[in-house]
Symmetry: C2
Subunit: 403 residues, 2 copies
């Protein structure tokens, strides 16, 4: 084959907000009708604060039809074909497209200013719809269920089973637990056990970061106030750390020791931090003198932290820039999976080929094949035989990447 | 000179708790008398949870006299002489020695479960005493004032002036602001201006990390409960990030732009994170496509983040392990300052020479001279001429470090 099989480990899909109504349990539809205008207004207000409306509208111009691929399966296939992408992992949509699941069941899965029962209802609505979307093209689409797992572990386990039964391949769980129990609490063990046994990848997806007051300078932020100068720079410098933070809790908490087949992915959280992160955890695991006063904190781990990571943690490395590609061996050739972030304006679409060439030219073919699709195929169970004819038609030509 | 001038950028001193009474404003002495036993019990309880009593007692054995150097100036000189250290930067003491300033005015300067007025009173008591201790040997001792700056900026400015007048060389301010205003809030500008004009180095010292509920798994932690398994590993993996976090706010917030002579130090927060941290901030500063939707977040900065860092940020790199020494060029040869952490059990004392040899053997002499003392001399204004005779007598022999 003279083209690469490309699987994007980070794509997004969501219905226009009003259309989630049909996927909600009927008993939540009256509250949905009341909440929808409020939610739309809040999304617009957040968009005005954190995103530059003009820049985004300019970017959208002329792409209106292609952006309906955010929910329309046929359009989505056309868009991905043109972008050279054969397979994709699909997360809910984000603030930029305004098509988040209702009741706070979107990417960041907040634990404040949400009603748990409603957040669950919104998540289930999205999961029903995304399962339908994936069933239209199951060889191309690996759907990720939304699972607000912090409220109720039994409920989360039931939702994982439902997701598996509907053909979904993974679940999104919150990156931050607020005042709820963090992930090293033993109460979550049934969740890890279920994900492991069902073969579902659990995801932490970039989005949430520090508490809102860290950006606004006051808690609660004064009505109508804007973030302090510097807030955006702070956010984009910290967001990857918050996205990866649960790993620290899961590794030291012994979760990857007790559940050796559990697989985790950190998505759109960059990958450049991995080498130093693993060196730090291993250094802390190995050292004696400087931590002696803290007693035994590691005998429950039979391996070094990096060994758990290599075995069980994968990176949805959206829009990998060249500096991450250059660090690919230290990041982990078998752990890193490229992603396009379609349909978000910060993603590589519709210039994916140009971005890829800039980032990857000169990388050996076998390494590139793993990063662009092979690793994701293995992690999410894509049938590469079935995808091969499509990839042979639409994939980026291998010859372009030779140095 | 055939010996190095060594200045420890991280040492600690504190009175036995009851002796802080004499340094308190008289009006706070009655509440001090009431609070002392409660504070001692709380410190003991925290010690039992987080520190291994037996390990620490074993370490202390035979060192009881030398540990009185934590408050006794003559003993302190003998101890430092024997350890090869001519000069030192002195922070308040920590939990391991039980001799913290009263009312929560210790290293971590918490913003919860403290009374602001009392924390200020405790800080002033410590500052009066540490100034006395430093005045006994001003050529050797650079004292750091405790300044709980988050409550009241005017008060903080007054305390900086008092510290300068008493001969202190810097101030410790909190690493974490809790629900108070973070450091990119313009309200702190008078604080930065005062530190800059007075030539006082502002310090973030390792200690505080995530909120307590992250370790205990519940908020508030159940009465008498212990941290969850893995909590210690999590803490030692995250604590350096929390210690350095204010830099992100100060750099993006434009504070180092507006106050170009302000100097900051991150102490006992390791230094290994610096190269990737600076690469990340510069990458975020330089990139366009991926952050375009966020608008202009950098035009208020005339330099790249790493340039502010190189000019104004210094690292109190306590007990530098070999892996940090090997990264010294990327960390910044002019920014990194070795420290011993005397009198803490995790420090290098009383085996400083052995630790130094393990970490530094083979490093070129001029680079080693900068890391072991030259940088700290410049940053804190030590008079190297005055210290030369002492260093020539007690400093580690340069010949030992040749490869």
């Amino acid at each position: 084959m003279d083209r690469f099989l490309v699987i994007s480990s980070d794509c997004h899909a969501g219905l226009p907000p009003e259309r989630y109504r049909d996927y909600l349990d009927p008993k939540y539809r009256p509250v949905f009708d009341q909440a929808l205008p409020i939610q739309l207004e809040a999304t617009r207000a957040a968009g005005k604060l954190f995103l530059v409306h003009d820049v985004n509208e300019a970017w959208r111009k002329g792409r209106e039809q292609a952006l309906t691929g955010a929910w329309d399966g046929d359009e989505r296939n056309r868009v991905l074909d043109a972008d050279g992408i054969a397979g994709e992992v699909i997360f809910p949509d984000g603030i930029t497209e305004m098509n988040m699941p209702p009741f706070g069941a979107g990417l960041s899965l907040p634990t404040e200013n949400v009603v748990p029962e409603l957040q669950w209802a919104g998540a289930r609505a999205h999961n029903r719809w995304i399962a339908e979307l994936c069933q239209m093209a199951p060889e191309r689409r690996a759907g990720v269920a939304v699972v607000p797992a912090l409220w109720d572990v039994d409920e989360a386990v039931r939702e994982l089973r439902a997701a598996r039964a509907a053909g979904l391949r993974g679940a999104l769980i919150p990156c931050a637990w607020g005042k709820l129990a963090p992930y090293h609490h033993p109460k979550y063990d049934p969740l890890w056990a279920a994900a492991q046994d069902l073969g579902l990848v659990l995801h932490f997806h970039s989005g949430a970061a520090a508490p809102i007051e860290d950006y606004f300078g006051a808690f609660p932020p004064p009505e109508g106030s804007a973030p302090l100068p510097g807030a955006v720079g702070i956010y984009i410098s910290e967001v990857a750390w918050y996205c990866a933070r649960p790993l620290t809790f899961l590794i030291w908490g012994g979760v990857l020791e007790r559940f050796p087949r559990l697989r985790l992915a950190v998505t759109e959280g960059t990958s450049i931090w991995v080498p130093e992160y693993l060196a730090l955890l291993d250094f802390r695991y190995d050292e004696n003198h400087f931590t002696a006063k803290l007693g035994d904190y590691r005998s429950h781990l039979t391996m070094r932290p990096s060994e758990y990571f290599r075995r069980q943690v994968f990176l949805g490395a959206s829009c990998m820039p060249r500096r991450e590609v250059e660090a690919r061996h230290a990041i982990g050739l078998g752990n890193v999976m490229w992603g396009s972030d379609y349909p978000h304006p910060e993603g590589t679409w519709p210039e994916t080929r140009a971005h890829m060439l800039e980032a990857f030219r000169g990388v050996p073919e076998d390494e590139l094949a793993a990063i662009l699709g092979g690793n994701a195929a293995r992690v999410y169970g894509f049938d590469v035989e079935k995808l091969a004819p499509l990839a042979a038609r639409i994939g980026p030509e291998k010859s372009l990447f030779r140095a």
